[in-house]
Subunit: 316 residues, 4 copies
């Protein structure tokens, strides 16, 4: 693939999608190698911008959340291919990020899925200001400073036949909330539709592992990515490649099923593309694999299994 | 606490315990501040030492696994205290480590807990040699070299009233298989019995996150620790402190329950001892917490929630 | 509602839907009170009809499974209403039922969701003949006779915004595989779209609780139902009413979350419509509630919480 | 086995055990065939007997709950045998039963295992009076009458090596809270210790499936059982036989693992003792098996898989 330095496509949505939808008309068409800059709103449609914007009021008229920009049609993409998304840059388009406690949503409360008869946690809004020339974020209640480490909370292709809520992660990528979907890394997704039909949104200024309360540091942003295609190669779950590691994201409930998916896929990847015997690959990950929680709050949980690239070159 | 530089206690077991047992007679008595060197066997009672030692034969006469050295009676420890275990050093007592595939045990197979009607995976033994002056391990089938990063797979106090299999992690610590139980770090455990009654064993030369196939790089070893007591302070789940971070280990099934335990305890720790408002602590972990899988193979899964110590000093 | 004895609508699909889809054009329009007879194919598009039709061959060209008849537009149905579906009759349209073992599908094997590295179970087909004037089924390998107790494996309204695979149960009903969705009972579903947009299919001659191997006694059939509307009353999860009991179906993973949903909804139903104090309702279900597994094999598990109607009339 | 009509042993405990413990001295020795009447306290040591006895006060000084009568030594029982416990009768020893809401305990609240940061549910006590000559129970707040259908909440043998809390169900039986552990039925348990070492307690006047709030209708009682031995036959999980059905109880978390255990064991039982091919047994349970939730509140969940005895006699 050759990146077209002079061919920059800017995608500014007129409206948003709340599902990863194979039936929606593309809002842009791009070529592999184009540098594509995508504007996204935050997960709350920018309805929460100050401490007093409690969700029960600010979101009262929002029927759906997590607006997505898309779909973007990638020319040449066909079912059975793999789409590579190289993330080059994420730029904030406002000078603060927001996080909130939403009733019955998050990791340390009962939820719509894990129902109880208890009262919800209190509502709360935190505004984090971008400071130090955009390199840090700070919140006055907490009194701490955290580095700007942005990533795409949501990156998806349209599923095969289904139209799935933008709150869900899955084999199509989606709302994975995995901090490794970040500038410098490449995300690989299966292609089920002509043009792949890419959606993205839910940009985060940063996030801990697990996205504990359910809401990271939500920002509006423009992100620059470059697409590439691996023709006639089908993958089953999202993969990520960084300078140092290869990773698989598995999303499922209960959480151990997500861990099983991510690790099984990584074993098979090592077997199929890196010359490992299957059981030796299983052994390698046992002794040297990484396994962290991306989110423990979404419709399914996302876990990331990884292994250092140095271990792909063997001297048997 | 003052460490008694000249007071070194060496604990060499005559036999082993296969339960974390409040009823077993102590095999040693030590004082807070003593430097205590503890000899441990490997998880298979050293029955597997070469490639041909397949578990179905080598372990056929082993009624129980994971032999523990203990209990060690820590003078002055009383119910309601917290025991601090500073791990100073882990030294191998042989020049190789072993890992195996055991039928119906591990993360990517059905098991005694997650039963199916499928056939088991094949049995397999890997011998990893300690090389480069003990700084690395290498296995000929895999053809890779991995650094020596030893830790205690098992570190426990006797439970209150119960005697629990040495294969189990829990509030008492136990078979957590968490790589952060390592030299340089301090592990905090609740005390339910006079003398705390410490057990340890299952030393690992290293391990990936998740301990995927269920068996890390198992070694015989001697480990040096120093105990200390925090009087009249009860904790509910194991805590770990490193130079850089504070952590809580939660163990449960399904895996999300382990994540909930670890993070809830860490939120309450920040609230009770570090001046954080409860909801601000929840927010802090959302944006800056760590959450990795220690084991996804034992009787319950162990997850580690953590936060950087730098974030404990705030400037509100 | 008045049932129009003379107004019978027969719905014979020209093709099938493999998603519960709000965007698909209705194939029939009916009024509340119409007696509607719906023809359905079996879950395998009738591709498996004899012992030799092993899934790996018979289903090789089937891109999707579980074909649905629909959507049926119910006049007057609007978002915020509840749709009542009175099931009057299920009639087989062939003289046998079929069940199979499909690789990596079912309750006692690893699956696409609960991944392992094990080999699949063997493929196997069972043909069950309808005998004794259609009152029993018998299979020659098993040598047992089981009563004809048919029900709708799948009964759904279109979701709000999403188009979801016909293999999934959920708040919209769907592939619940719950034996109580049977003649004589009424199923209540939330309405999110104009016309409700009803889908049904996957008829079962009978099924045990749990649908253990994942495939019940699959039949082609015609089913007769009568729709009714409860205007301006929103429910959150499917409800069932029989002569003797009221029930709620919760679908989720892990299975305890399905149990929590079903029971929480039933507590709130008792509180909101039957005069029970919330905690007394909780108490009642503790001492007198039913809780069985509908399916332990689908994309999410379906559990049924119930209580005897006699306990709705109290004498406090 | 011959039941000794004239040999009745009455077991009246001097004190209670709060663990299923292989190390505790037997409190009675009986022979197979003896009719053994066992007195048990209720789960709260009779500390809660009226509406005002809120758990936070009434149980404040109770370090442990669920007192067990035992162990009872059954002569001739050896490791590798199966113990049959025929339950003949359960008689109340007071004229009321009690249920309560305990903070952070039960099926529709967060708990010690499923932790959240929410407030607990309110405390509440219900007293149910035995009426109609002991055939019914009634509670004035609820205003309903429920039949007396007593069973043993807890029935266990001592585990192998471990001493496990009396709150836990498991392969040893224990706190299964399964309504089929009732008069007329026979429970089969594995034997790991000389004398089997039987514990029982936690008698319930009745209970719904799931034991939703965590506390059934708790009573003090005397129960009459007859023990028998099946020599040299080892089982792995508790089995129950009624006049009509055979059943297996699986206990695990997540709940699907309990369902997998119960059904796998039942498939293997049909294969090993009833002449079924393994896959035909799997098929039989798919179409005709029962699967209900015993408890969704204890340390692990208990599910009951069953099949009608009529289906054990086949005519192939």
């Amino acid at each position: 693939m050759q990146i077209s330095e002079d061919h920059v496509v800017e995608v500014v949505p007129q409206d948003y999608s709340y599902v990863f939808n194979p039936y929606r008309e593309p809002i842009a068409r791009v070529k592999p190698g184009d540098r594509v800059t995508i504007h996204t709103d935050d997960a709350f449609e920018s309805r929460i911008t100050k401490k007093g914007d409690l969700p029960s009021r600010a979101l009262a008229t929002a029927k759906f959340l997590n607006p997505q920009t898309g779909p973007i049609y990638v020319e040449g993409a066909e079912p059975g291919d793999t789409l590579a998304v190289r993330i080059e840059n994420i730029e904030p388009t406002r000078d603060f990020a927001v996080s909130v406690l939403i009733p019955y949503f998050g990791g340390l409360t009962s939820t719509n899925f894990t129902r109880t008869l208890q009262e919800p946690l209190p509502e709360r809004v935190w505004i984090w200001d971008l400071v130090d020339g955009g390199t840090n974020l700070t919140n006055e209640e907490l009194g701490v400073k955290l580095p700007w480490e942005p990533f795409l909370g949501t990156l998806a292709v349209a599923p095969d036949l289904e139209a799935i809520t933008a709150l869900a992660p899955g084999p199509f990528g989606g709302n994975m909330d995995v901090p490794d979907v970040k500038p410098g890394n490449t995300v690989y997704l299966p292609v089920w539709n002509e043009g792949a039909l890419v959606y993205t949104g839910d940009c985060h200024a940063r996030q801990g592992q697990g996205e504990l309360c359910g809401v990271a540091l939500e920002i509006t942003s423009k992100s620059t990515v470059v697409f590439d295609l691996i023709k006639d190669k089908a993958i089953e779950w999202p993969r990520i490649e960084s300078d140092d590691a290869i990773m698989v994201v598995g999303s499922a409930r209960p959480m151990e099923d997500a861990a099983r998916i991510a690790n099984t896929e990584l074993v098979l990847w090592l077997e199929q593309e890196h010359g490992y015997d299957r059981w030796d690959a299983y052994q390698l990950l046992t002794q040297a694999g990484g396994l962290y929680v991306g989110n423990m709050v979404d419709t399914t949980y996302s876990l990331v299994a990884s292994v250092d690239k140095k271990l792909l070159s063997r001297s048997p």
